[in-house]
Amino acid sequence: MNAPDIETLLPLHPLEFRILLVLLDGASHGYRIVQEIESQEDGGRIWPANLYRRIRDLLGKGLIEEAAVPRGEEAGGRRTYVRMSALGRRVAKAEARRLESLVADARARRLLQGRKAQ
């Protein structure tokens, strides 16, 4: 099977990108993903149907995959654990670069103030 062209998977939905960022730290279940995202300043509130539709879409695109319950964690009830796949990591990087170039463009056009050199 041919590896999917990464460009066709971009741009990612903002919530999908945030989910991938959380999974950079390792496998997680839905509620922990919600807590991580909401703990960020502009995380907003995420509700179950919204979250799991995105998880379903990410699973369908192969960017994440189901994982076993990590060692040391209780499998509290039927919890679905997911982790980032290798494709998912590549797509997340590509999306991050895309957003970075957009921000650079916005700075070049003076929409955003440039950062002072450290």
């Binding site: 839905g30 509620y31 919600v34 509700w47 179950p48 149907a49 539709r53 379903r56 919890r79």
Partner: protein
């Protein structure tokens, strides 16, 4: 319930992620820290499932267009169609929405109050096990101890007494606050702990060890700014034998005391000094709350209580009677706390339910009219193969959408109405914060909305028969023969609306007459131009009766010296207020029969000049004078009712009265004054006697009344009066400065509140009823326009056409009026306990209401009927 909502999602998705979604949602609910928070979680959660459920199903249909729709798919489609259909008829939708919102909003608001007071569990542990003990009796501390030890069916018992104490120091102004004196076991009985610190320990009920206090959250915040360091500190809270108390605990925010007052806190009822029941004069333990032991029943506890009551009676028959023993009971705490207000609330709920029924009848007529207008569309769908059930389900779904929207609008309206209710509510209603729209109220509102809309939404399609549908397809929409219409339902609904409106308007009319009668009751005194206040000198500076007497004498002297003051005097309890002091008394010559008890007579402590200040007429003998000092012979003044009850047809001057015991020191009657309403204007005066403050060695605080020569706007003198008190003692808090007119006006607060609400509901009912009549008549005229056009073309006069239209509409109005008046004769008996000076079947009220309803309904009828006379017959005939 969330699992049921998940059925909006496609099955595959649900099977794969449903359990996870439930866990996330459950975690969200746990995070919510209030009932309002949990409601918000539910709203967002349901919206999230609905939105994404629809999106998922739409996406799936797009991907798999040949796949058979599931039940949920078609339901969602009906929802979409329903919303679109309503949006296509904005006028109809708005009219129905507003009508439903008014009816549901009022019902939801009243149900919120009923829920808070009567349905929501009391905020204590296992509240169904909490009981009120012998609520009709007056208790002293010894009785509390005897009942606690003698009724094993009660695992614990606490007495409660409400006192006014002064708090000074801590940089704040001296203030008078209400404090509950309770048994040391009080919070254990309720099963609640302090939010900070602790509640009372058992040993703190012992004499000399009760110098502790638990504060309410509100008082801690307002007096001490929420400063946690007040815990463990001693504060100057003076009263009930202590000048200072150590703060040991602070209750949680929102904790409601058993007795509904604005308390500063709780202190301990010390053990009694006296060793016998009869020797214990602490007759102020007015409430008792207990907890049933595991497995015990109310009946068992009551039986045991009566045994204890019997032994108390045997100890001293003068204190309680055989009748008291027989009536001793243990009742559920909730029933006792609410008292007669409970019946009033159910009555209000019944009244507002009538408003809702009228609103539903209006919406039903709107739906019926619209249903017939759509009959052709529905007939076409049936002809194309749609099953009857499918068409019916679509109409029911449309009605449900309308109902839900009406319910939502009604809930928003209810929030506003609750604010208005909180403003005008009588003191017996709990604080406004306790009346909230919680999950139960929301469920009630939406269930009511759905039931109403669904009941009438299906009526049009169910009533249109097959033959009628075929007719609709064959014929034009404007022929005189037309589609077969069933006008009986609409007329029946109009009659129902009128009948219900009659009930409400008569009820509000009777309450208005009651208010009017109360206004005419003479209280027995002249309140105009009188200001009242309550200076409360701190116990630690005025430890005995002599000091108290000097304080009040000095204060009254300073007040009388103020410009504009005509006179001033004091009393321990103001007239026309709910509180009362009454004790067993022994009037001379009155023999207490065997098995009986001494009569309990109202008792008032006054300073010289009280009767003159309040202009209570002196009927015989003399008033109390400054010469009636502590070292002078003991004297008393009685009221007319006491004179007539104990010395009928005789002169009571020179007779004596003793209190508590036939051998106590006698007071000689020197005068008789007119009756004053002690409790409320609608309750007759009871026997009452007045004694001089100095002769009783009165140590507690007094209310003062000050009469001004200029009776207008006496409250403008408040600052001068306060300064006069503080010129005697800067640390004496002064509370309750208001006109005596205000005090007396409050006695009718509950009646006024109930009347206001009933009048509001009646006005709403009248408006909705008139709108209903107008709407149905307009619709009938429009529907019969071809017929009227033909009649006019054939030579009928416009007056004849008008008469036809009016007569048609007047029949259901007349039936409704008759039915409503007949039902009111029975229904108004429910109001009997609330009425004063007017009978439930008062003819004047009935006639006035019948005329009013007839006038309003006829006006609503004639206006649209007049349109029938403006029909152009040629235009009608041309368009057919």
């Amino acid at each position: 319930m969330y699992r049921v909502l998940l059925r909006l999602l496609p099955r595959e998705f649900r099977d794969r992620f449903g359990a996870d979604m439930q866990q996330v949602f459950a975690a969200r609910l746990r995070e919510a820290d209030s009932a309002g928070g949990r409601v918000r979680v539910w709203v967002h959660g349901a919206g999230d499932v609905l939105l994404h459920g629809l999106a998922e199903r739409r996406a799936r249909r797009h991907e798999r267009p040949t796949e058979r729709s599931t039940y949920v798919d078609s339901l969602l489609q009906d929802l979409r169609l329903g919303v679109r259909s309503l949006l296509r008829s904005p006028g109809f939708a708005l009219a129905a929405l507003i009508t439903l919102a008014l009816g549901l909003g009022a019902t939801t608001a009243v149900f919120s109050v009923v829920n808070a007071l009567l349905l929501r569990p009391l905020p204590y542990a296992a509240p169904e096990r909490l009981v009120a003990v012998w609520p009709e009796a007056n208790f002293n501390k010894t009785m509390v101890a005897r009942v606690a030890s003698g009724v094993p069916a009660l695992e614990s018992l606490s007495g409660i007494s409400i006192w006014t104490m002064t708090v000074t120091g801590d940089g704040g102004e001296p203030a008078e606050v209400e404090v509950a004196l309770v048994s040391a076991s009080h919070f254990d009985v309720l099963g609640v702990a302090a939010a900070r610190g602790r509640t009372f320990a058992p040993e703190e009920g012992a004499r000399g060890r009760a110098g502790v206090v638990v504060l309410t959250h509100d008082f801690w915040m307002t007096r001490y700014g929420g400063d946690a360091s007040v815990l463990g500190r001693s504060i100057r809270l003076a009263g009930a034998d202590y000048d200072e108390r150590t703060v040991i605990g602070i209750m949680a925010e929102g904790f409601r005391p058993v007795v509904n007052r604005d308390l500063a806190g709780w202190v301990v009822l010390e053990e009694p000094e006296a060793t016998t029941f009869a020797g214990d004069n602490t007759w102020y333990v007015n409430w008792r709350v207990g907890r049933l032991a595991a497995g015990a029943t109310l009946e068992q506890a009551t039986a045991q209580l009566r045994v204890v009551a019997g032994s108390l009676y045997a100890d001293d028959p003068g204190m309680i009677t055989e009748e008291d023993v027989r009536l001793a009971s243990i009742d559920p705490l909730r029933d006792n706390l609410v008292g007669p207000l409970g019946d009033t609330l159910w009555l209000l709920l019944g009244a507002v339910a009538l408003v809702l029924l009228i609103a539903c009848a209006n919406v039903a007529n709107l739906l019926l009219a619209r249903g017939e207008h759509r009959l052709r569309e529905l007939a076409l769908r049936r002809a194309l193969g749609a099953r009857r059930g499918r068409v019916a389900r679509q109409l029911l779904t449309e009605a449900a959408v309308l109902g839900l929207a009406g319910g939502g609008a009604g809930v928003m309206l209810a929030y506003g109405l609750l604010r208005i209710i909180a403003l005008g509510a009588p003191p017996e209603l709990p604080h406004a914060s306790a009346i909230t729209i919680d999950a139960r109220v929301l469920l009630f509102a939406f269930a009511a909305a759905l039931l109403a809309a669904l009941a009438f939404g299906a009526a049009p399609v169910l009533r249109a028969r097959g033959a009628a549908a075929a007719d609709a397809l064959r014929q034009g929409t404007r022929s005189a023969a037309g589609v077969r219409i069933r006008p009986g339902i609409s007329s029946g609904l109009v009659a129902l609306e009128i009948a219900l409106a009659v009930l409400l308007v008569i009820g509000s009319g009777l309450m208005l007459r009651t208010l009017q009668q109360l206004h005419h009751v003479h209280p027995g005194l002249d309140a105009r131009g009188v200001l009242v206040l309550r200076p409360a000198p701190p116990d630690w500076r005025y430890p005995d009766a002599a000091a108290m007497t000097r304080f009040y004498a000095d204060v009254l002297t300073r007040i009388r010296a103020l410009p504009g003051v005509e006179s001033a005097a004091g009393i321990q309890l103001l007239p026309v207020t709910p509180g009362n002091w009454s004790f067993p008394a022994f009037p001379e010559g009155h023999h207490v029969p065997d098995g009986g008890a001494a009569p309990s007579i109202n008792f008032r402590v006054v300073t010289p000049g009280w009767f003159e200040t309040l202009r209570i007429p002196l009927l015989r003998g003399r008033s109390l004078e400054p010469a009636d000092r502590a070292d002078a012979p003991r004297v008393a003044v009685i009221n007319r009712t006491m004179a007539e009850q104990f010395w009928p047809g005789q002169n009571p001057i020179g007779r004596t009265v003793r209190s508590f015991s036939p051998t106590a020191s006698p007071y000689t009657i020197v005068g008789v004054v007119g009756d004053v309403h002690q409790r409320a204007l609608d309750q007759p005066p009871r026997p009452e006697w007045y004694v001089p403050q100095e002769q009783l060695a009165w140590e507690a605080s007094l209310f003062l009344a000050v009469r001004f020569r200029d009776p207008d706007n006496v409250i403008r003198h408040a600052a001068a009066i306060r300064d006069a008190v503080w010129s005697v003692d800067r640390d004496a808090p002064v509370s309750g400065i208001e006109s005596l007119d205000n005090v007396i006006g409050r006695s009718a607060a509950t009646t006024r509140f109930l009347t206001f609400l009933l009048v509001f509901f009646a006005a709403l009912a009248l408006t909705l009823g008139a709108v209903g009549v107008f709407g149905v008549t307009a619709w009938t005229v429009a529907r019969r326009a071809p017929e009227f056009g033909v009649r006019l073309a054939l030579g009928a006069s416009r007056r004849h056409v008008l008469a036809t239209a009016v007569l048609r509409g007047i029949t259901p109005i007349a039936i409704g009026l008759g039915a409503g008046l007949s039902a009111a004769i029975l229904a108004t008996r429910l109001l009997e306990s609330l009425l004063f000076g007017v009978r439930p079947a008062d003819p004047l009220t009935f006639i006035a209401v019948a005329l009013l309803l007839a006038l309003v309904a006829t006006a609503a009828l004639v206006a649209p009927a007049w349109r029938a006379t403006r029909i152009d017959p040629l235009a009608v005939l041309r368009s057919d």
